[in-house]
């Protein structure tokens, strides 16, 4: 086999237990990767050491950073970028894209229903306490009709490839999913480092995200507004995703604001400018529900705008995503996705769900407590990979602690079999070589009244620690440029 001579991969260790994205079932390089593999093979490892450090400093210089919470000293870190891209062929992408749209649409119909007739609850497809005991269900949204009927304008769907070669969805993120700016930055960085590789592939662009997002935001403008004034609101520069907020505002050509830059007068929202107040019609908000308006929600929130919710409810301003959307971004709701899709769309789910055990159900709780070592335990309402326990990595004492936590508040936890995320060759600094690392994929879906768009790319996240299964940036993950190939 010609592959062996490839110097870059000469020391690449292939664990037969894992699904490696670049090899087929017989251990041969997949056709779509062959060219890339050959081109990379023409370089020496020292070239990569060089390119890698250049890419890193380029990210720092552009300020493409994030922050990790929970450490005493909050640090700005770059999101490590890997030079070896992931390639998704058109047929596989077709499944991911259709599956992402299907889920977004179903979730939107679900949200409409639970804030209106509540048919899905009355038909007992989804248990009522899933809604009533959720901290993210907003009574204030009952009976509210968001412009265009859209709640989850922007969704981030996390999918993985299991060792059976099939895609599974791990999570639907519909509060304020982040990461799309990295998709675009990764592409730019790779083009800078290894421009030549793009000559050999017909890759879909990812730079059209901002124009699609702006088009969506303008399409859900309030009634009676001709040309809407769109802004992006951020919690501020100390938020972990601040870079992204500023990036999106910049690329859409709209203002980036904080709560203190806006005010509400007679139920209309205005932005303070040096030329005087300017009316705001559509807000892409990257602030959680509880913080958007201290007069309606958390009174101690300094991030929001007093009176914003009343202006929203009156229809004078549009918020994306709609308040109350978070109730469907709940790991317990996730487990009902196949039923939710079937109920509203009368379709079979295109993407698989991972089987989930509900600790709120006595028989399933019993199973979970007895099988913790082979399960992933997840709190239902935490984002960013916080609070996740992976059974086979826990010590005996840790298992007991987890058991105790579950028994104390079973509703708070769900459990899933440990999925074997596919692996992908990834350049590792410490060993100066390519090694297998687990990857997932976050897709970005935009949903409008007559519009659905999935960014043809998405964010491939890499768990950089060997054997680690959690890919979130806050948990020490990196990312890869992700190519979706055009149909030949």
């Amino acid at each position: 086999m010609a592959n062996i001579e490839n110097q870059i991969f000469s020391s690449y260790q292939k664990n037969p237990e894992l699904y490696d994205e670049i090899y087929d079932g017989e251990g041969k390089i997949k056709e779509v990767y062959q060219k890339l593999f050959d081109i990379y093979g023409e370089h020496s490892i020292s070239d990569y050491v060089n390119l890698n450090s250049k890419a890193k400093s380029s990210f720092f210089n552009q300020g493409i950073t994030f922050q990790v919470y929970g450490d005493n000293d909050v640090q700005e870190k770059i999101f490590p970028f890997d030079l070896f891209p992931r390639i998704i062929d058109p047929d596989e992408w077709d499944i991911i894209e259709r599956g992402s749209i299907q889920r977004s649409k179903a979730l939107n119909l679900f949200l409409w229903d639970i804030y209106h007739d509540k048919k899905i609850l009355k038909d007992k497809v989804v248990p009522i306490d899933l809604i009533t005991s959720s901290a993210n269900y907003l009574d204030q949204m009952n009976g509210v009709n968001p412009p265009g009927g859209i709640y989850n304008h922007i969704s981030g769907t996390d999918v993985i490839k299991h060792k059976d070669g099939k895609y599974y969805v791990l999570e639907d993120n519909i509060r304020c999913p982040s990461g799309v700016s990295y998709v675009i930055c990764n592409r730019t960085a790779l083009k800078k480092a290894l421009f030549g590789v793009f000559n050999h592939y017909q890759t879909h662009t990812v730079t059209n995200y901002a124009e699609n997002l702006l088009e969506l935001l303008e399409s859900v403008k309030p009634k009676g507004v001709d040309v809407p004034n769109v802004v992006v609101i951020t919690p501020g520069m100390f938020n972990s995703a601040f870079y992204e907020h500023s990036y999106l505002a910049k690329t859409m050509g709209v203002e980036l604001v904080e709560g203190r830059d806006l005010f509400v007068e007679n139920d209309f929202v205005y932005m303070k400018t040096i030329k005087g107040p300017e009316k705001v019609d559509v807000i892409y908000r990257r602030i959680d529900d509880q913080f958007i308006d201290p007069l309606e929600f958390r009174p101690d929130s300094a991030l929001g705008v007093p009176g914003l919710f009343a202006a929203y409810k009156k229809g004078n301003v549009t918020l994306a995503n709609a308040p109350g959307t978070g109730v469907a971004d709940d790991k317990a709701v996730y487990t009902y996705m196949p039923q939710i899709i079937k109920y509203y769309l009368n379709e079979e789910p295109i993407l698989n769900n991972v089987h989930t055990y509900h600790c709120s159900r006595p028989d399933e709780l019993k199973y979970v407590l007895e099988h913790i070592h082979e399960l992933v335990i997840k709190p239902v309402d935490e984002a960013g990979g916080y609070g996740i326990s992976i059974g086979n990595t826990l010590t005996k004492a840790e298992i007991e602690k987890v058991k105790l936590e579950i028994k104390e508040s079973p509703r708070k936890y769900v459990a899933q079999p440990i999925m074997s995320l596919s692996v992908h060759p990834t350049y590792i600094d410490e060993t100066e070589s390519f090694e297998q690392r687990h990857v997932d994929l976050r897709t970005f879906t935009i949903l409008g009244k007559d519009k659905e768009f999935v960014l043809k790319g998405g964010l491939t996240r890499v768990a950089l620690k060997r054997g680690n299964l959690i890919v979130n940036s806050s948990q020490g993950g990196g990312s890869k440029d992700t190519w979706v190939l055009k149909k030949q």
Binding site: K118, L121, K122, K124, I128, I131, T132, L138, D139, Q140, N142, F263, E265, N266, D267, P294, L295, E296, P299, P306, G307, F309, A310, K313, K314
Partner: protein
């Protein structure tokens, strides 16, 4: 018969240091409903800032004030005048057959439709082991059970101002057996909800000219939903049904949905607040 009401609501706020920015939202306007008509509102503040009328997340009218100058003191004064019809709390057949109502409250769809007013909130959660301190008697009608609950709540708690706060939980109220109208109402709502009867917290004013007990500020009572009858007001602080003397402003799951004044004050140091409410009626 109807009554002409006049309510004066005043508050004075003084701050140690300059306040550069502040927002207030008042939820104090008597609502218009089938017994409260022609509500006229006069509202003023000592800084002559604009008063904005808006609707909060639960559909009730608010007044919002956002002064554009810095200050150390601000006073508000509201005057409401309106007509209130005489209420006969017993305007339904008391001998109503309860079989249907009892079936209704067990229906799944009913539980979903009234979910907001059946669920426990932090302020209406009964502490463990106390849910049987009052028990509905299945041989009684729903209405009779609620009357008994009203009576029981009235006897179980001693009215005493200053013992509890607006965010005092029921475990403390049940432990001390003292409190004010909010606490009576939270306890009443919790017990009613536990027995499957939707109950909502009502905030409003009480005409104390006839010797009823209440705070000198705003009053609280409960409304419960009896199938085939509708929402009925109970005032456990006074062991009566809500009547012509109860002027409703708004309702919600508990005090938190109804707090009469929300303020976002950007200032440091101490502040003092004084309130007064005067309710006058004329037949």
């Amino acid at each position: 018969m109807s009554n002409e009401y006049k309510i004066t609501y005043k508050t004075e706020n003084t701050y140690d240091n300059w306040v550069n920015n502040a927002y207030w939202q008042f939820l104090i306007i008597p609502m218009e409903n089938n017994t409260q008509h022609d509500v006229n509102v006069e509202f003023s503040n000592s800084l002559f800032a604009d008063n904005e009328y808006s609707i909060n997340g639960f559909g009730f009218k608010t007044i919002r004030v956002h002064p554009k100058i810095k200050f150390k003191q601000i006073n508000f004064e509201a005057q409401f005048s309106f007509r209130k019809d005489d209420i006969d709390p017993f305007d339904f057949p008391l001998d109503l057959d309860d079989t249907l109502a009892n079936e209704k409250i067990k229906e799944f769809d009913f539980k979903i439709d009234f979910e907001s007013f059946l669920k426990r909130t932090p302020l209406t959660t009964l502490p463990d082991g106390t849910s049987s301190i009052f028990i509905f008697d299945p041989s009684n009608s729903i209405f009779k059970n609620l009357q008994n609950l009203n009576h029981w709540t009235f006897n179980h708690i001693q009215f005493k101002a200053g013992v509890t706060q607006v965010d005092t939980e029921l475990k403390d109220v049940i432990a001390t057996r003292q409190g004010v109208c909010q606490d009576f109402t939270h306890l009443f709502c919790a017990m009613s909800r536990k027995n499957g009867i939707p109950a909502r917290y009502v905030s409003g004013y009480l005409n104390q000219e006839h010797g009823l007990i209440g705070d000198s500020q705003m009053h609280a009572w409960a409304e419960v939903y009896i199938p085939l009858v509708g929402w009925k007001g109970f005032d456990p602080t006074n062991n009566i049904m809500a009547n012509t003397n109860h002027i409703k402003v708004c309702h919600g799951k508990d005090y938190k949905d109804c707090s009469p004044l929300k303020g976002i004050i950007y200032s440091q140091g101490q502040n003092k607040t004084k309130y007064s409410v005067k309710v006058q009626s004329q037949q």
